[in-house]
């Protein structure tokens, strides 16, 4: 049985908790953004936001943040300690990335073995992990600019930390759209993330 498990149970638990947390963080974050939009052209309609008003959205944002951070921290600790991160997402070479990207764009990238990620997948998963870490760090800067002076400096000051937070959110949403589209193309991958094989 063990040999056929593609995603161990802790990976699946992490994945789904993370999925829910990320969606709730985005929806409540968009409501917060609406209180003082950074870009006048980018607005979020009430139908996609959570919390109803600024105060309500912040209650959600500051509650779910714990789940997002603890879940990601646990995942990173487990996947680094078990060697799974290294095994599944590395090695990642530029050559393999180009080959697989070209194949993907021509619709010729095979998915016969779901336990092996292709180079484009590896990059996408690495990017989204780093991106969520960046979201947490920029969020921490916006929340506690006085307590974290080093983070504040790295983010380019308080105002810029908001821009970083927004940009990282945009990358996350971009990943989400492509990720869901890919799952729709290869529905078996949804099954493996639910039952592990």
């Amino acid at each position: 049985m063990k040999s056929t498990t593609i995603h161990p149970v802790w990976v699946r638990v992490f994945h789904w908790i993370n999925a829910v947390a990320v969606i709730l963080m985005c929806m409540s974050g968009w409501q917060v953004y609406e209180a003082s939009p950074i870009f006048s052209a980018i607005r979020f309609p009430a139908s996609v936001t959570l919390g109803g008003w600024l105060g309500g959205a912040l209650l959600w944002h500051f509650a779910i943040m714990w789940i997002l951070a603890v879940n990601l921290g646990t995942y990173l600790a487990l996947s680094i300690c078990t060697g799974r991160l290294r095994r599944t997402l590395f090695p990642l070479t530029l050559r393999a990335l180009i080959t697989d990207l070209v194949a993907a764009l021509r619709g010729k990238l095979g998915h016969s073995d779901l336990s092996q990620y292709n180079a484009v997948q590896k990059l996408a998963y690495l990017v989204v992990i780093v991106d969520i870490v960046l979201l947490i760090l920029s969020g921490l800067t916006i929340w506690k600019p006085v307590q974290f002076p080093v983070l504040r400096m790295l983010m380019g000051g308080f105002d810029n930390a908001r821009v970083v937070h927004f940009a990282a959110m945009s990358v996350l949403v971009g990943f989400f759209v492509i990720h869901v589209a890919m799952v729709a193309l290869v529905p078996r991958s949804l099954l493996t993330m639910i039952r592990g094989r």
Binding site: G55, W60, R162
Partner: protein, 257 residues
């Protein structure tokens, strides 16, 4: 234990084959459709989740927990960044829960600041007496909960000095601030004693204008705007949680960095 070991190992291909057989193409499509619909519904209903009483109660509980966590995280020695005068935001934005034409008109001559609660010393202060105390000034960033920020220059009395001169019990938990416009908020004692927390009497070198809180406001660069009350007429030192105008509606009570 032995019997499980002897069962033939299943391989991925056969399981997928079985699953595919079970889910005939039409039912597969329906399954997919239903999952999408369910997801969509869950997302849509998310907007109404906050109206749910139990959910709201849970969120408020987490917010109180966050107050505690932020209190632990707060390092009273960490200072908010200060800026050169050239970086002051001009004009500095007016912000309140009402329009600028409704700014309270406080008479400086008859103004009295009243101290209540755990205070042993002087309980009533005139504007002249406050102005006679040692003054300092700071150019710091005012951050609104909405996300925008602006740099301003405030002058006045270091609040910790004022509290000790008044004989306030600085071992108390809270300082509540009551305003002429019926606004009120409250802060934790460590923030009240923070070196940058200022009983503010001037803005940019001039007497504090009405729109920025005449005759007196509390300026805390470690707190968000709604924790920086204007037109303060009374201060209470207490161990009983005082809440606040916005805080009681859902803004986080600690509300700062």
């Amino acid at each position: 234990m032995r019997s499980t070991k002897s069962t033939p190992t299943l391989d991925a291909a056969s399981i997928i084959k079985d699953a595919q057989k079970e889910l005939q193409s039409s039912s597969r499509r329906l399954f997919g459709k239903r999952i999408l619909t369910l997801g969509g519904l869950a997302l849509l209903s998310g907007c109404d989740l906050t109206n749910e009483k139990s959910v709201n109660h849970l969120l408020r509980t987490v917010s109180s927990f966050n107050d505690g966590a932020q209190g632990l995280l707060f390092d009273p020695r960490k200072l908010a960044p200060t800026y050169p005068d050239s970086m002051i935001t001009r004009p500095f934005p007016f912000n309140a829960f009402y329009d600028i034409d409704q700014v309270p008109d406080v008479d400086g001559a008859t103004y009295r600041l009243e101290l209540k609660g755990l205070v042993k010393g002087k309980r009533v202060w005139t504007l002249g007496e406050l102005s006679a105390l040692p003054q300092c000034s700071q150019v710091t960033r005012h951050i609104c909960i909405e996300g925008w920020s602006a740099i301003g220059k405030w002058g006045g009395v270091r609040f910790s000095d004022f509290l000790s001169r008044s004989g306030a019990d600085t071992t108390a938990k809270y300082v509540a601030l009551h305003c002429a416009d019926d606004y009120w908020t409250s802060i934790d004692m460590p923030t009240a004693l923070h070196p940058q927390t200022q009983l503010t009497l001037t803005y940019d070198g001039n007497v504090l204008p009405a729109k920025y809180g005449f005759p007196m406001k509390l300026r805390m660069p470690t707190k968000l705007g709604y924790k920086n009350p204007k037109h303060i007429v009374a201060i209470t030192v207490t161990n009983e949680f005082p809440g606040g105008y916005w805080e009681n509606q859902g803004y986080n009570w600690f509300g700062g960095s």
